[in-house]
């Protein structure tokens, strides 16, 4: 049931000013600020109709995102924003559904929903601000905390093997999987933009430092702190010998190999596939069902059903 765009309204330009809402409540220096700034930039670049943008989130520091963006938005419960966003996306193909959250929200409490949202290939754009720690609840071990990380719940250092987000997402069936770093605004804008353009379950994991509880976590990927921000070189399909060496983003195994590199690893698009979305598949079914009923009204269809029950 698609909904037509409202007509006859002045098209306001989508500026940073128009998109700014409450002042973020994040700690000064939190990586999430830069993610927010990049999101504004991406929207400014794309000039989507303002009322068609939806920002949704679960619970966590990063999940406060929707309050800071002046669009239709929702702040849901911890870990369940993927199915919430899926409902919005499936019922309203006219909308652009953006989803924000942290590593705990995505990979721990929401891990199973993530898995199934990806498997169903629902058309949403999901930005995961991964800080390797639980920020909002003040420094407990997260599913991405490295072994040895000392938190309030692992004073001796974390012992559980962390989730590898890229591997998890690729194996779950996400159809666009990318990785970025919160110190790299242009790269974040590009990754979010490509994710947004991609029809299907598209995820960008952004290493976003929690200055409060895990300072320096991502310095190894930050050139200004002496680290290396190394990009994935994607195949250009130009037949050159160099291209042989480049990454084929449609190759799942190659994506896995990249995801196995030691920290901080590479940044960019790991995987992209054009398999059909659940949105499209269900819409086909709805359409063929509608055709079978021959355009009857709801009243007429139900009446026919009842006639068979007499």
């Amino acid at each position: 049931m698609s909904t037509p765009a409202a007509v006859g309204l002045p098209t306001e330009k989508l500026t940073k000013k128009a998109l700014t809402a409450d002042h973020p409540t994040w700690c000064p220096g939190c990586g999430d600020f830069a993610v927010l700034a990049s999101f504004y930039k991406m929207l400014e670049r794309r000039q989507l109709p303002h009322e068609k943008i939806v920002t949704l989130a679960g619970i966590g520091c990063s999940s406060r995102f929707p309050y800071f963006v002046n669009t239709h938005g929702g702040h849901f419960i911890h870990g369940r924003a993927v199915p919430l966003a899926s409902g919005v996306s499936l019922a309203r193909p006219d909308l652009h559904v953006f989803l924000f959250g942290g590593d705990g929200d995505a990979f721990s409490i929401g891990g199973n929903h993530l898995e199934h949202g990806a498997r169903k290939n629902i058309n949403v754009t999901y930005v995961i601000m991964d800080n390797f720690v639980y920020g909002l609840t003040k420094k407990q071990t997260s599913p991405t905390s490295p072994i040895g990380f000392k938190s309030k719940t692992d004073p001796q250092g974390a012992v559980d093997q962390p989730v590898n987000p890229m591997k998890k997402l690729v194996s779950a069936g996400a159809s666009f999987v990318a990785r970025s770093h919160a110190t790299q605004v242009n790269h974040m804008v590009e990754m979010m933009d490509r994710a947004m353009q991609h029809p299907g379950f598209s995820v960008v994991e952004i290493l976003s430092e929690c200055v409060e509880f895990y300072p320096g976590a991502f310095d190894a990927g930050n050139p200004r702190k002496g680290g290396v921000f190394q990009l994935i070189e994607e195949k250009k399909w130009d037949g050159t010998p160099e291209d042989e060496e480049r990454h084929d983003i449609t190759d799942e195994i190659a994506a896995y190999k990249l995801a196995s590199l030691p920290f901080p690893g590479l940044f960019g698009v790991f995987y992209e596939s054009d398999r059909p979305t659940k949105n499209a598949l269900e819409a086909q079914w709805v359409q063929s069902s509608r055709e079978k009923t021959g355009g009857l009204s709801a009243l007429e269809i139900l009446q026919k059903t009842f006639d068979r029950m007499k």
Partner: protein, 601 residues
């Protein structure tokens, strides 16, 4: 309509082949076999036949929780007047096996007919209370259908026998068989027709002296009757109410609602999604609702528990949502295929924080249809989660009821995306919340956020003590406003007297039958049935004041302090010590006799 006054009274075996039919107005037929014998489908055909013949009908069935094998039964009560319960006792027991006979003979009334498969059952003829009719059902079915079908088709053979005994309209049955089996390959339909013919042709008059014919219903020629089960009625009620989206996870006895909606909604341009679990399902349903399409999710006990956090969000965010709980025996996996009304507290109070929500319960299959419409109306008007508490007995019970006037009921809703004026507030303190779904242009340039955090009128988070008090009151007040618009239910029977029975949900039938029976016997007994459980309708105290005793009849435990769940609520609400409880926790529905004995002892 108790067994004592029952008009069916077969005579002992004679050898006359054909007799004039005896006219009857009520019969309870119980089919007992194993789950793979298809007695459910034979019973359902019988029920639909009755519905098509303007007879009132009600069924009752138990299915084993194992997939195949295990005893199974299906009871059909067909009547010319109003049929209120599936019947305390059977007039006819069809026993396929020795265990079917043994387990069910206690439910056959004295003078009742035991129709048994003489290939499998050896009844105790010394027990002179019953009429014994032995027919080699298995052998005759195998003979009629030839080798490959083995004894598959016994159910339809029995249908043929019953058609002969009750003088049912054969053409109507054949039409039903064609509808049921016609879609599959030709040979399936032919086999069914052959089995039916064999049963119908059996000279049952040689062993049973009486044939029966139902009185023509007074309503005949009135509104046509629809025959369906409670879960179907809920599904179609939701469709009539314009509900087009939903999500759920399978669990007995809820599942058939989602199966129906999954198949039906696309025809209406909607969608039902099977999710990874109940939490995902309620979350997706809330996504549908937020997008402007009021949605439905549902489950049974354990699955409802999983949904509770998200339902708390719906209360806080004031998001409309319909949650169907088809109750079964609990707690935990409990009695998955039995009936209980033990989730009332959960529905009303099962949320964290002060989270008032609306709880409705349908009284019978017909009411499942109308309560779904009522739930949708309330959810939309008050922008709130609404529970429908059905139960396992309604879920599978097939009943015939007057065809609803669809023209006056069916509504279509599209998300309201008309631009909102500057100053729009998602959470106004004065007035009801009506969200602006995404896609709505906000002319003031300020976009709303829906949230589970306590918030101000714009949806911004706040820790303000003043606002938490004011918003808590807002969420409570709207339900009080709703209470004011619910009609006070009417008393069935004398409006004043000795005892008032209070019920909710599927106990409607046996309670009302109990009142009728007691009144016929000159006892003072009335009944009040509640469809709205939270908020309660106003004015109940005035009704209670007219009775010396108020007994709440419900299928749940008497609790630590001696009162069932609704009884406790009513006692707390009205501080009235004359409110007491009659409880049942066997996992089976109330029998009329049990209510009468329990109340009038």
């Amino acid at each position: 309509m108790t067994s004592e006054s029952h008009p069916v009274s077969p005579q002992p075996t004679t050898h006359r082949a054909d007799l004039r039919p005896e006219h009857i107005c009520d019969a309870v037929i119980r089919l007992a076999g194993n789950s793979q014998d298809g007695i459910q489908s034979a019973g359902a055909l019988l029920a639909r036949l009755a519905g098509r013949s303007d007879q009132d009908v009600m069924t009752y069935m138990t299915i084993p929780s194992t997939i195949s094998g295990g005893p199974s039964l299906f009871q059909v009560r067909v009547g010319t007047g109003e049929v209120l319960s599936p019947g305390d006792e059977a007039d006819f027991l069809v026993a396929f096996y020795q265990h079917s006979y043994k387990d069910n003979i206690a439910f056959l009334r004295e003078g009742g007919v035991l129709l048994y498969d003489s290939d499998h059952v050896e009844p105790d003829f010394d027990d002179k209370r019953f009429v014994y009719v032995g027919i080699p059902i298995t052998g005759l079915t195998v003979e009629a259908l030839g080798g490959t079908a083995k004894d598959k088709g016994k159910n339809i053979f029995v249908l043929g026998l019953l058609a002969r005994i009750f003088d049912f309209d054969v053409e109507k049955i054949k039409r039903l068989l064609r509808e049921k089996f016609g879609g599959k390959n030709e040979s399936v339909l032919n086999t069914a027709l052959m089995a039916f013919q064999a049963g119908y042709a059996y000279p049952v008059g040689n062993v049973l002296s009486t044939r029966y014919k139902f009185e023509v219903s007074e309503d005949a020629g009135g509104r046509p009757q629809l025959t369906m089960d409670g879960n179907q009625a809920i599904a179609y009620g939701l469709i009539a109410a314009g509900v087009r989206y939903g999500a759920a996870y399978p669990i007995t006895p809820w599942t058939t609602i989602m199966e129906t909606l999954r198949a039906e909604l696309p025809k209406y341009g909607g969608l039902f999604v099977q999710c990874e679990d109940e939490i995902g399902a309620v979350s997706m349903a809330l996504g549908f609702s937020y997008s402007g399409h009021l949605a439905i999710t549902g489950s049974s006990g354990p699955g409802i528990s999983l949904k509770t956090e998200a339902i708390g969000w719906a209360t806080m965010a004031e998001m409309p949502l319909i949650i169907v709980n088809v109750q079964r025996g609990g707690p935990s996996t409990g009695l998955p295929t039995n009936v209980e009304q033990s989730d009332l507290y959960q529905a009303i109070y099962g949320g964290h924080g002060d989270s008032p929500r609306v709880v409705l319960a349908p009284s019978n299959v017909e009411d499942c249809f109308y309560i779904a419409i009522e739930a949708a109306r309330i959810a939309r008007t008050y922008s709130t989660p609404v529970f429908i508490l059905s139960d396992a007995s309604l879920a599978t019970r097939i009943q015939a009821f007057d065809e609803p006037d669809l023209k006056s009921l069916v509504v279509e809703f599209l998300p309201n995306l008309t631009p909102r004026a500057p100053g729009f507030q998602p959470y106004p303190l004065e007035g009801l919340t009506q969200h602006a779904p995404p896609g709505t242009p906000m002319l003031g340039g300020v976009y709303p956020t829906v949230t589970g955090l306590e918030h101000d009128e714009m949806g911004h988070p706040t820790g303000s003590p003043r606002l938490h008090m004011a918003m808590t009151a807002k969420r409570r007040n709207k339900l009080q406003k709703l209470a004011g618009e619910i009609p006070t239910p009417e008393v069935f029977g004398d409006p004043e007297g000795e005892v008032l029975l209070v019920g909710w949900g599927s106990t409607y039938g046996p309670i009302h039958e109990a009142v009728k029976t007691a009144s016929e016997a000159g006892e003072s007994l009335s009944a009040l049935h509640l469809r709205h459980l939270n908020p309660l309708p106003n004015g109940l105290e005035k009704i209670f004041a007219k009775f010396r005793r108020v007994v709440v009849v419900e299928m749940n435990d008497q609790g630590l302090y001696g009162y069932g769940q609704l009884a406790s609520l009513l006692r707390a609400r009205y501080c009235d010590p004359k409110i007491t409880s009659l409880n049942k926790t066997s996992g089976l529905t109330f029998r009329v006799k049990e209510i009468l004995e329990g109340v009038l002892k």
